[in-house]
Symmetry: C2
Subunit: 337 residues, 2 copies
C-alpha cells in the first residue's frame, strides 16, 4: 500500500510557495501498537499554515524541513491497534498533507458524529474555522445585541462564520473583503448589514459610513492597512479579537504601523489574541452549537475544493493570493483502501 505525502523541503521567509514543497511516495509501514491508520478523505488548507512553517514569531515549533506538512484532515480509521478506536470511526485531527496517516490517538481532535452533514465540514464551519469564529467572537469579543461588529476577511472561512454568528446574536454586522465579488457574497450569502471592499479608495471613510456609532467589536484576521483604518474608529469600550495577521507578508523584518496604544487608551478598548487550540475543552460544545445552526439554515458556509494531493503545494500560496472563495480544502480521490 503506497502513501503519497507532501514534504516541506525548504523554509520560505514569507508565504510558502509550491517550490517549498515536494510530493513523495512511500509504502505505508505496519501499524505500531497503540496507533491507528487513518485514510484521509479531505485535507485542510489554513492561513495559519504560514505561521506553522515560520521559524519565528509563532506559537508552536515550526514544521521541520523534510517532514510531512502539518495539517488538519478528516477521514476514516481503517485499522486500529488502540482499544478506544475502531475501524470505521470517522475522525478529524492532525493527520498531515498525505493520503494515509498512521498516528497516535493524541493526534485526533475529535470523532465526527454529525452523520447527516458532509464530513468536510469538520475542517471548516464545524472545525477550526467555526470554533474560532464562535469562541473568539463570544469569549473575547463579547458582543452585546445592537452593537456593531466589524470583520476583516469577512467572506473567508472564519470571517463568514463570525459575521453570521454576530447577526444571530443580534448585532449589526459589517464585513471587509477584497473585491466586488466577495463584497457581494458578504451581503447576499452571509447576511452582513454592510460590506466594504478594502481595495477601493477611502477605506476609513467607508468604515465611518458603515459604523456611524463606531466599531464595538473588531474581529481582526488581517492586521496591516485594514486594522490601521479600524483602530481610529473604535467605539468607547471596544473589543478587538486578534485572530490572524493575513495581510502581513513577512514578520522578518518586523513591520511597523501606526501605534495603537493611544487608541486603546482613549477608547478604553481591549485587544486580545485568540488561538483556538487553547480551547480544546470547549470544542465539542462549540461544534454542537454550530451544527444546530447549520441544520437550521442559519449558518451558511462556502467551500473551495481542490482535487488530489497534487493540489497541495500551491494551495497555501493561492490562499494568500486570494484565489479562494471560502474554506479551501483538498479532496483526495477514493483510492484502493
Amino acid at each position: 500500500m503506497n502513501n503519497r505525502r507532501v514534504i516541506l523541503v525548504s523554509r520560505p521567509t514569507g508565504v510558502a510557495q509550491a517550490e517549498n514543497f515536494a510530493i513523495e511516495a512511500a509504502p505505508v509501514e505496519p501499524l505500531a501498537d497503540g496507533a491507528v491508520l487513518v485514510r484521509n478523505e479531505v485535507l485542510s488548507v489554513e492561513p495559519a499554515m504560514r505561521g506553522w512553517i515560520a521559524d519565528k514569531g509563532n506559537y508552536s515549533a515550526p514544521v521541520a524541513i523534510g517532514s510531512v506538512m502539518r495539517a488538519l484532515a478528516v477521514g476514516a480509521i481503517v485499522e486500529s491497534r488502540h482499544p478506544d478506536w475502531r475501524a470505521g470511526d470517522v475522525v478529524t485531527g492532525w493527520f498531515g498533507w498525505q493520503e494515509w496517516a498512521a498516528v497516535e490517538p493524541t493526534a485526533i481532535l475529535r470523532r465526527v458524529t454529525e452523520a447527516d452533514l458532509p464530513r468536510s465540514l469538520a475542517l471548516g464551519v464545524l472545525g477550526i474555522n467555526g470554533v474560532t469564529a464562535l469562541l473568539g467572537l463570544t469569549e473575547i469579543g463579547a458582543p452585546k445585541p445592537g452593537e456593531t461588529v466589524l470583520v476583516s476577511t469577512a467572506a473567508g472561512a472564519v470571517g463568514s462564520a463570525v459575521g453570521q454568528i454576530a447577526k444571530i446574536l443580534g448585532c449589526r454586522t459589517v464585513g471587509i473583503a477584497g473585491g466586488p465579488a466577495k463584497v457581494a457574497q458578504c451581503l447576499e450569502k452571509f447576511g452582513y448589514d454592510a460590506a466594504i471592499d478594502y481595495r477601493a479608495a477611502g477605506l476609513g471613510e467607508a468604515i465611518e459610513a458603515a459604523c456611524p456609532r463606531g466599531v464595538d467589536v473588531y474581529f481582526d484576521n488581517t492586521s496591516g492597512a485594514i486594522s490601521d483604518a479600524v483602530y481610529p474608529r473604535l467605539a468607547t469600550g471596544a473589543r478587538v479579537v486578534i485572530c490572524g495577521t493575513a495581510s502581513i507578508g513577512s514578520w522578518d523584518p518586523w513591520p511597523s504601523g501606526p501605534r495603537i496604544e493611544r487608541h486603546l487608551l482613549v477608547k478604553r478598548a481591549r485587544a486580545q489574541g485568540f488561538i483556538v487550540f487553547d480551547w480544546r475543552d470547549r470544542w465539542d460544545e462549540a461544534v454542537a452549537r454550530l451544527a444546530d445552526w447549520v441544520r437550521a439554515g442559519r449558518l451558511s458556509y462556502q467551500e473551495d475544493i481542490l482535487d488530489g494531493i497534487e493540489a497541495c503545494p500551491d494551495a497555501l500560496a493561492g490562499l494568500y493570493r486570494g484565489d479562494n472563495f471560502g474554506k479551501r480544502l483538498i479532496r483526495l480521490a477514493a483510492g484502493e483502501p
Copy 2:
C-alpha cells in the same frame, strides 16, 4: 478678594510650555446659588494634562483657549450656597490652576476624610495616581502571586504605587525608569526586585535578564521605545495595562512603531486602556485601601512640591523633561481668606 489664575493662551502641538500659559488676576465674584467657594491649597500637575490640552486623540473636550487650566486640586470650602456642603469641608476635585474656585458640587471628586494624613496625598497616592495604580493593576492587569509585573515610569507617581501594590499582592516587580537616581529610588524606596535604566544601552536584554520567564503584567505609562522592547518579551497570557503614553511627544503626525498585533496573538495576550475617571464608583473604596497601606508604612510616596502659582506655567513641561522626583504638586501660599 483677588483670584490669580493660570489661563491657557495658546494651544501647543506637543507638550504645553510656559509660554502657552499666562497668569491673570481677577476679583472673586459673588457666589451663585448652589455653588461653593474653595480656597485651593495644593494644585496638581499630571502627565495627562498634555492630553487635556490637545485638540485630538483624547477622551475629553480640550481645555478652551482663554479659560483656566483644568486641574485637580485640594482645598477647604470657605463659603457654601449648597445644602450638602459646609464651610470647613476639605475637598478635592476639578478646581483648576487658580487660587480660588467657585464651582458647582459636581466638580468635587470627594470629601477628604483622612484627617491624620497630609491633604496633598488626596492628589497623589490617595488620589488620581494611587487609584489609577490600584484599579488599573488589579482590574486590568489582574496579577497573580508569583507573576512578574513590569512597570514603566516606575519611580513616578503612578508607577511607584503600581510597583509597591504588586509587591503587596505577592508579585515579582521590575521597574523601568530614566537615569541612575530614579533606578536607585526604585530599588531602595519602592522595593522593586529589579530596576532598569531605559537610557542605558541594551533595554531588551535587560528586560530579558530581569524577567527570565517573560512579563506577565506590563503596566505601561510610556508607549514608545520602552513598549517596543517589552512586547516581544510578554509571557503567554500576558496582560498590558495601557495607562499613559508619556514617551510620545506628539500625536500629530501620528507616530509609528513595530506592530504589536502578532505579539498579542502568539502570546494570547491582552492590551487594554485604563482611564481612572471611568471608575468613580470604586474611588472611595480604593482610597480607603490605599490609606491603610500608607498608614501601615507599606506604601511609600514621593512628592515634588513647587511653591506658588507662578510655578504653574512651566510645571507640565518640566514633568515631560523628567525634572521631577515623584508626584509634582504646587503649594499655594497661605493668603488672606
